[in-house]
Amino acid sequence: MDNFIISKKEPPSFFGKRRRLIKWLALAPVAVVQPALAVDLLKLLEPKKDSTGKEGPSDLEKVLQILQGAGDIIGSSIDLDYESEMVIGKSVALEGFKRYGLPVKDDALQDYVNLVGQAVARNFKPPERNYYFVVLKSEVFNAVSCPGGIIFITATLMKHLEDESQLAGILAHEVAHVNLKHALQSIRRAKFFEGIGKITVATAKVEKKEQYKNMINDLQTVLFDKGLDQTMEYEADRYGMEIAYRTGYQPLGFIKVLEMLSRNEAGAVKKGSWFSTHPPLSQRIQRCREKIKEYPDAASLAKVAPRFLEYRKRL
């Protein structure tokens, strides 16, 4: 049993479930004669909301939170608000520029990559989150997501892509990492997070300066050298393909990227690259190929090669 294969990949077909429909139709009279009960049960199916209309934790979640304890580091790092995540993300992004290179100075190209990124991100983001996509001048093959939503793709990786669905696949994968807070989960035990509820520039630069520096160093090691946990990568693969598919791009584009990386692995720079920070490509390709079976109409979706190639020429 593969724990990482999700059970539902596309919005379920209404008419494809004819048998269930017939069953429901047969049961409709029961619902009609029990309207009050029907309303109550439907209420139970709705998202749980608090008095402000926002979703709140369930009783079980509350119990779990209590059991975890107020000082639990896991809780404090994962529950960081967007502004706190961005304080960390910006520090990591600055280190990323030092490591990989500065953004390519081409507004049209950066706009284009942002348009693709925003198109996929709006199908998978919390309301308060923004994403920023950046092409970096770099000789290595890589794409990296900083906490908060600053996402890098290197010029070298982009030069080796063939169409927009491939770019969308990579950006969707990185969006998934950010939204699932993978990087922060990886360093959740950092001393810096102890007693921290909200991170401000003052917290980071003054009050806990040393601990903050160490935490950013840990994050750099995870994101730029060691890589995230394999399960997180597989999870981001799954979500990324789903997001690209929902947007209307061929999810196969992401598999094509993995295959291209596999072909280029032998002669590529390894340090700080996709090859050193991601699980073995063969395993990922295999898992993604399993996943794509869930999209029977995938081949009919958009690849958008001509537009992509026009922008690729600029690199």
Binding site: I6, S7, K8, E10, P11, F14, F15, L21, W24, L27, A28, P29, V30, Q34, A38, L42, L45, E46, P47, K54, E55, D81, Y82, E83, K90, A93, L94, F97, K98, L102, P103, N114, L115, Q118, R122, N123, F124, K125, P126, P127, E128, N130, Y131, Y132, I150, E164, N179, K181, Q185, V201, K205, R238, Y239, E242, Y245, T247, G248, A302, V304, R307
Partner: protein
């Protein structure tokens, strides 16, 4: 006795399923930002409403990549399938039973800004005004200027829609 038991089980099953499904149409939830309820199953048709993430919809039929739906305030129209999920969206990172993507597609908790107030142009600055005065010189300044530039890029949703339309992607596909 056995027949009586069987009848009771069937009745109970009917009661639970029948009541839980109401009039038997499938329930879905809006899972994307800027999801539009259209008058017809094309992106070029009139926009009847812009729906919010988490809005419940009742699916009445399906045609191609579009669902005919009714909103909770009884508006009827069409929505592109990529904008809905079969389960209510939950907060990112919140684990639910079965780890379905539909459950996690968009977070709703901790929201302080309504979706109507958000577009991709919102940005936060790296440094406060006071901090800017203390900016480092040389390469450090170059990195910070680069980050400022990254965070100030503005992509309104209308441009994203136009971009998708030009590429014939998603709801704009022929």
């Amino acid at each position: 006795m056995r027949v009586h038991l069987m009848t009771t089980v069937i009745l109970l099953f009917n009661l639970v399923i029948g009541t839980a499904t109401g009039l038997s149409f499938q329930q879905m939830w809006v899972s994307s930002f800027d999801a539009k309820l259209k008058a017809d199953k094309t992106a070029s048709s009139e926009t009847l409403a812009v729906l919010k993430v988490g809005d419940a919809l009742t699916v009445q039929s399906e045609e191609g990549r579009w669902y005919r739906v009714t909103t909770t305030d009884r508006k009827k129209g069409w929505i592109y399938r990529g904008k809905v999920s079969s389960e209510p969206p939950r907060a990112a990172g919140e684990n639910g039973d079965g780890d379905s993507v539909g459950k996690l597609l968009t977070g709703l908790t901790g929201t302080r800004i309504g979706s109507g107030e958000v577009d991709t142009s919102r940005s936060m600055r790296m440094l406060s005004v006071e901090d800017k005065k203390k900016k480092a010189s040389g390469p450090e300044q170059e990195y910070e200027a680069a980050l400022e530039s990254v965070l100030s890029r503005r992509i309104p949703y209308a441009r994203v829609d136009q971009f998708l339309q030009n590429g014939k992607i998603g709801e704009y596909a022929p």
